[in-house]
Point group: C2
Chain length 137, copies 2
DNA sequence: TGCTCTATTTAGACTATGTCTAAATATCGG
DNA sequence: CCGATATTTAGACATAGTCTAAATAGAGCA
């Protein structure tokens, strides 16, 4: 595994326009290299093992900062955070960036190909999640 | 708007194999008819306006029951429940039903069509979310 | 009807996770 | 080194979900 050095991390933060403090470098060292898709609290737990006195607020603020500067993406995929839909047949979803409102998109309105060619997975279901703005009511 | 009667709701619950109590009918009256994609607490707040003494535990248990009997789906799309991904280029995601682990799927591994034909939306991003099981490591 | 067994509901304690604030600390430019 | 600004901190607070033991309601039956 290629180990990312502190100097590399500092460089990445600076190129993103972020001042590299010790806490930020420690957080970056984990979250910019992981493939685990951690929640904010998981990042906090993990970073604390190397950097025990970092506060929760710093981790949350830093993750927000990294996201604003394009180093991270936030995915609305945290397990256990669900919403209920009485429309049980397969369909896709549109999430309005402005209002947060979730709307159904009929299955036939989009076409998804090559799902059957995915290797090593037994697919139970899939859907497209589209995000953006409404241009009319 | 076609009003769903209590008799209709009772009938749906019974056909799904659920004994229809007053609380369950009240919860069904809202959640099986809405297009709002509410969270569990939102369902509780809403149902309480008509049925003030319903407890939170009942609403949570009932939503779980409805889901198990196929009347509802749970969507992992609740706003504010995020996970972080340092892979900022567009890609899709696979969620393992067994472990909950989220894995990246390369953009090129799937094909999504007709997104540009969606009416009334200005698309910022989209992704496919695939759920299922791994068949090998 | 009244009894008993089971299913359902309840209040509220508990936990986990995210937000906010005011104070303390660190860093930068001069 | 100094003052101004940026950053971090502890911990209170808020919100949402889980759990439990006790109370209530309903079904089947004598």
């Amino acid at each position: 595994m290629s180990k990312t050095t502190a100097a590399d991390l500092i460089d990445r933060l600076e190129r993103a326009g972020i001042r590299p403090s010790a806490q930020r470098v420690a957080i970056a060292g984990y979250v910019l290299a992981t493939s685990e898709h951690p929640s904010a609290d998981e990042v906090w737990q993990r970073v604390k093992t190397d950097f025990p006195m970092v506060s929760r607020a710093t981790v949350y603020n830093t993750l927000q900062l990294f996201t604003e500067h394009g180093l991270l993406r936030q995915l609305v995929l945290a397990e256990g955070c669900v919403v209920f839909d009485p429309h049980v047949a397969p369909h896709h979803h549109f999430v309005d960036d402005v209002t947060g409102r979730i709307e159904d998109i009929p299955w036939s309105a989009l076409r998804v190909g090559k799902v059957d060619q995915l290797e090593g997975v037994d697919v139970r279901e899939y859907m497209v999640v589209v995000r953006g703005r409404r241009t009319r009511g």
